[in-house]
């Protein structure tokens, strides 16, 4: 059983688990980072979104083996104190309802804004096409992304 090395929120971690274990469960169960959520395990809800080398990926569809050797960023690592521009915009627009889907949405927003400082409505719709928010926070998600636009380095 090989141990896998990965960097999570800037910290080097060695994980001894099966190669096919989704990164989602490594984060949640092995490393105790429960900010990344399980919604479907099928790649269709976006709750489990994290960054892999700066790209938004579905951690339920990314195996430990694929994640090994890469830099992973989760919602816990986005900022020390909630001061990331996307987090601030999320508070300012009071986006969250139940809040469960929100870490995934925030990670998608952060990756989008890094890629494109001023996304169009179409860009936002594309980026969130695979996110489910059963509470219906979408109007505020859109507003919060626009509020944070230009602020993500």
């Amino acid at each position: 059983m090989p141990a896998y090395q990965l960097t999570v929120n800037g910290r080097a971690r060695t994980v001894d688990a099966e190669a096919d274990t989704p990164l989602l469960w490594i984060l949640r169960d092995t490393l105790g980072l429960t900010g990344t959520k399980f919604g479907c395990g099928q790649g269709v809800c976006g709750s489990c979104t994290v960054h892999l080398d700066g790209q938004a990926v579905r951690s339920c569809q990314t195996s430990l083996k694929e994640a090994a050797g890469h830099a992973i960023l989760t919602v816990e690592g986005l900022s020390k104190d909630g001061s990331h521009p996307v987090q601030k915009a999320w508070i300012a627009e009071d986006v969250a309802q139940c809040g469960y889907c929100q870490p995934g949405m925030i990670m998608t927003a952060a990756a989008l804004l890094k890629r494109k400082a001023h996304p169009t409505d179409g860009d936002i719709e594309d980026a969130f096409a695979d996110h489910v928010c059963r509470c219906g926070t979408y109007p505020r998600v859109r507003k919060a992304v626009k509020r944070a636009a230009g602020g993500v380095k």
């Binding site: 919604g39 919602v75 816990e76 909630g82 009071d94 469960y100 925030i106 926070t137 505020r140």
Partner: protein, 716 residues
Amino acid sequence: MTSRRDFLKGAGATGAGLVLGFHLEAKARPGEAPRAEFRPNAYLAVLPDGTVRITVPKTEMGQGVRTALPLAVAEEMDLDWSKIEVVNAQPGPDFKSMQTGGSTSVSSTWTPLRKAGAAAREMLKAAAAAEWNVGVEQCRTEKGFVLGPGGKKLGYGALAEAAAKLPVPKDPPLKKPADYRLLGQRTPRFDGPAIVTGKAIFGLDVRRPGQRFAAVLRCPVPGGKPRAWDAAKAKAVRGVKAVVEVPTGIAVIADNTWAAFKGREALAATTTWDEGPAKDFNSATLEGKMRAALTGPADEARKDGDVDKALAAAAKVLEAEYAFPYQAHATVEPMNATVHMRADGAEMWTGSQSPNRAQERAAAAAGLKPEQMKVNVALIGGGFGRRLGTDFSTEATQVAKAAGGGPVQVVWDREDDFRHDLYQPATLHRMRAGLDGSGALTAWAHRIAGPAVLRSWMGGQKSPAQASVEANGALDIPYAIPALKVDFAEVEAPTALGWWRGIQIVPNVFARECFLDEVAHAIGKDPLQLRLDLMGDRGVVKFGREEADIRRLKKVLQVAAGKAGWGRKLPAGHGLGLACHAYDGRTYAAEVAEVSVEKGQLRIHKITCAVDCGIALNPLGLEAQVEGGIAFGLSALFSQITWEKGRTVQTGYHDFPVLRLADMPAIETHIVPSTEPPSGIGEPPVPVAIPAVLNAVFAATGQRIRRLPLGPDSFK
């Protein structure tokens, strides 16, 4: 009308008047807290450093109770909002009825919470007055301080110990709404910072020392039982610790969730089932039975005048059938509960909308007394009525018991969640309207046929209130029609049913408001004008035990129509539609939808909503509920659960479409100012969204949609 609320209140409540176990006594609790804490009642504690801890007796599930309820306390107590702590209540003697459903959290706690805050405020003032040797009338409160003559000032923390020794006033004066400082402001939700940083703990995020994880292999046909299986392959999966049979299936217990899932998959391959009595159940057969029931015997829910006679005498009779499918809750956080069985009792962590009931049932399953089962209520990743059920928390208790020792978290996956929901059932609606020679509506008959939610909820018993609960939204039709009949014909189905956001009001208002639109077009009258005319100048109207103020409904309808520009010239291919409803007679909602249909594609451009839910405690949260409620309603235009061979065809978001960001229309919310006591807002926006959109579709295309869900072929 007996409402669902009466049934939700039931479990665990000992006295309907003491909905919250509210009592005002200074309390010292064993094993807790330094003496300097001031704890005038079960809802709040003033800590020596001036922090005020507010205990919320309802479950947060996104509807904002952990913001709105503390605001009521903070307002009366004049707190500094930045110095409060919010904790969830635990079921027990102080909190006997924590059920969170029916959009009743604010209305049922509004008075006791304000009194709790006001009593504390008066005691703190009295303590300061004694300290300064001045009259209490010379003292006032502001942001966590008592202010006295000559610039005297003392913080609540410093006064806590002295205040705790004073008698608790029975009937403290409450503030006038005009003096509100916090209520009515746009307050962001209390848990926002924890949510955006990933620190908020939902049920699935509970991590206890030594915790194991379990997945239960259940028969895909609800009610089925395993006949034979071989645990060897499951046990061979790395991390799997045990395989145990429980009443709902076979549980695989492991070191981590993934191992539990993988072990379960291996187990499934070896398992054969006795699929039980429901194994041949399917949607097509059920629909046939429901259609037959549209003309057979039924239980009456409302009867005014003689409808049959009025229909026979009518110059013209309109008739139509409306169909609404089964629906799933589809909360993003799947069901889960964590249970730790100990030698002398047990502890549970779960997102429950019915903590008392969860406690009672889990205790029974564990062979314990309810007070031996401590229940910690976690944040809920979506409730919508699903977590009023206790199936998942009872099951987790059974698994933990069978697993022996140590905390176990039972995790459902997405497919479990869809296959073992407590569904909103399908219904068919036979609508008939009689018109006289002048086109006036003289008769209205609404027959509902389908499985009964209330019977399923009551464990198979038929309640005398069944017809009125299942006909909610139909029997409280707000329009004056001389002859009117609403009835419910029950059709048996072997499916577990439960309360869904908006409950039976959703299908019933869909049929009612769309059919009324048909009437308007049949007589060539504007649908807005027809509704206003049928409401007339009536005031409070009684529907059995409920009543509604028709004036308030009329007002929201006029506001929504006015703001949406009802009657304005629209771009080609666009249409406007409207609908309204007085929800449980307490919250009034009207929506106007603007839609277009191009190349078979429906686009919902905008929904303008007006609501009157009494005093608006937090407009920011209230608007969020309107947005979310509309999104929930619009999803039901497209989603359905169907049954084949006793099991659901749908297993996830891939085949049960939920509205996505790109589909979300612009929402404009208008809160009609009111001085009435606050009422719920979680559900009222849901039912009106569907008929508003479908009436707009008719306006845009001339096509009348009577059957949901919409499919790719709906607009050919």
